[in-house]
């Protein structure tokens, strides 16, 4: 059975209550599929289901966390989400 690639955010979770401004750690786990090579990660902030702002891009392929300085100016709310995307390439076969 071939293994597929995936990425899963482990923090923040549903009980997270982060202060603005402050610095918080976003963490994730990844599974790299057969013949796949991870290129980098992208993090974005969503609010109420819509894109709000970029958190970081081009994060190293070996990283499993990112220290996020939450900016001031965000409003008090409980409908924030963090989105992560793992970019990879498929290795060429022999």
């Amino acid at each position: 059975m071939p293994v597929s690639s995936s990425v899963t955010l482990t923090s923040p979770n549903s009980v997270a209550n982060w202060e603005s401004p402050s610095t918080q750690t976003i963490t994730w786990t990844k599974q790299v599929g057969d013949d796949h090579t991870v290129l980098n990660f992208v993090l974005q902030l969503y609010k109420d289901g819509s894109y709000n702002s970029a958190i970081a891009s081009g994060i190293s392929a070996s990283a499993t966390s990112y220290s996020w300085s939450i900016p001031s100016g965000l409003s008090d709310d409980d409908d924030y989400q963090v989105y992560i995307k793992m970019n990879y390439v498929e290795d060429e076969g022999e």
Partner: protein, 473 residues
């Protein structure tokens, strides 16, 4: 590019809001506290109470804060910038209950200006700009009858005066770095006890004259007088130009190329006679003479006497090498005949005067290069300018009839008396006299004129002090 992604569950972000319970209507926040409070804190504080004392710091408040919270009791307007005033300024302004005009701008007044200006008896207009109102500041100083001493510099910047002028201040002479040299010299020589009431803008000539207690010259008087004093200058060859070797040719790209055909009768340039001219040929459009002084010498002017109208440009160059390295040090913007004095400030061995873009030959009668001689004292009141009338001869015919003949044109004669000069200035006058006896020089008193100086005599009136006069005709 292939990718996989994930989205976290919803989570909360909350904004850091400080405790507000400590701030009540009766809170008395000290000024020192304000430094450590953030803008957000202030916003919070002000939202629950608008009765904060006016002496509380404005340092961290935004313009909006001031605008929205001081409307009830404060006369500041929307244009007042809280950001541009320091805590002390605000505190001072409010503590003395100064009636600031609504249009006063915090941006254009420096803190020291405000602090100084706002006193109960101050009459400075509040709309005056602190940065640009030197005159108003002086008036203020004068109103206070501060006893400035002679040694205090006229040219101190306004803020410095403001900081240091108290009755016990002892500002040293060395502070007056920017003072006109002549002014200081006069003041010291006369041991004059100038008072504060004497104007900042007085020129050297007025300083030199005795002051009276009722003197009321306005500041604006100083400007025109200063122009006059700068005209008391002698321009003559004090670097040995008449003995210099003259080269002929042209300069291009900083390099000199010899070409004797471009200049005709170059010796006339320094013969002390404007009747004989040197021709700068227009053959190639550019022609120059180079004076080799033998060693590098400082010069501060180049004077040229044109006998024909210039159809082109005149540029001056200097170098320490005969054939190369010529730098442009100035130009003449006069195309009319007569003298034109051009100010330069350079030290070179080779000085070149080059006519460029010539469309016709140019006749230059004289060139004088040297250092301006500005006597450190003004000539006396009563010096003369007159016309000689010894130009009529009488002939008697055999029948006994007398005929008057005008033998030459009237001649202007200028006499300048200097009744008290130093030995150093005496030496400079001697140099002028020695040179002027044989060479024409230019003396500027009401424009430009030139003449021969008569032999000068010096009378020692006290130890190392002399009296002399300069007669020019």
């Amino acid at each position: 590019m292939p990718f996989v992604d994930d989205l976290s569950p919803n989570f909360s972000i909350f904004v850091d809001v400080p405790e507000t319970k400590s701030f009540t209507h009766s809170d008395s926040i000290s000024v020192s506290e304000s430094f450590s409070k953030s803008v957000q804190t202030w916003k919070t504080v002000l939202s629950v109470s608008t009765s904060l004392s006016l002496i509380d710091s404005g340092l961290s408040r935004t313009v909006t804060d001031f605008r929205s919270n001081y409307t009830n009791s404060d006369s500041l307007t929307l244009t007042d910038s809280g950001l541009s005033r320091t805590t002390d300024t605000w505190r001072y302004i409010f503590s003395v209950s100064a009636g600031l005009g609504l249009t006063d701008s915090g941006l254009t007044r420096a803190t020291p200006t405000w602090r100084y200006a706002i006193t109960p008896s101050d009459s400075l207009g509040l709309t005056d700009s602190g940065l640009s109102k030197a005159i108003e500041t002086w008036r203020h100083v004068i109103n206070y009858s501060m006893s400035l001493t002679v040694s205090e510099s006229l040219s101190r910047a306004t803020p410095e005066w403001r900081k240091q002028l108290t009755k016990s201040d002892a500002i040293s002479i060395a502070d007056g770095l920017d003072v006109d040299v002549e002014t200081i010299i006069h003041i010291r020589d006369l041991s004059d006890s100038l008072s504060v009431a004497e104007s900042l803008g007085r020129a050297t000539q007025l300083w030199y004259n005795p002051f009276t207690a009722s003197d009321s010259l306005s500041i604006s008087d100083g400007l025109s007088v200063q122009v006059k004093i700068t005209d008391d200058v002698y321009f003559y060859d004090n670097i040995g130009l008449k003995d210099a070797t003259i080269l002929r040719g042209s300069i291009s790209g900083g390099n000199f190329t010899s070409n004797n055909a471009l200049i005709v009768n170059e010796s006339s340039l320094t013969d002390g006679h404007v009747g004989l001219s040197t021709t700068f040929k227009s053959t190639s459009g550019t022609s120059c003479v180079v004076f080799d002084l033998g060693s590098a010498k400082e010069t501060t002017f180049v004077a040229i006497y044109l006998n024909t109208i210039l159809n082109g440009n005149i540029n001056f160059y200097g170098s320490n090498s005969q054939g190369s390295g010529y730098s442009n040090i100035g130009f003449s913007n006069s195309s009319s005949t007569g003298w034109a004095i051009n100010i330069v400030d350079d030290t070179y061995r080779y000085y070149a005067v080059q006519c460029e873009s010539l469309s016709a030959d140019v006749q230059i009668a004289e060139i004088i290069i040297g250092k301006q001689f500005k006597p450190e004292v003004r000539f006396d009141v009563g010096s003369q300018k007159s016309k000689r009338n010894d130009n009529v001869s009488i002939a008697e015919s055999l029948g006994g009839t007398e005929y008057a003949f005008k033998t030459k044109d009237d001649e202007t004669r200028v006499v300048r008396n200097y009744s008290n000069i130093s030995s150093g200035l005496k030496s400079e006058f001697e140099s002028l006299s020695n040179n002027g006896n044989v060479n024409k020089f230019i003396y500027s008193y009401d424009g430009l004129t030139y003449g021969l100086i008569e032999p000068m005599q010096f009378e020692e009136i006290a130890h190392n002090r002399y009296r002399t006069s300069v007669s020019i005709s």
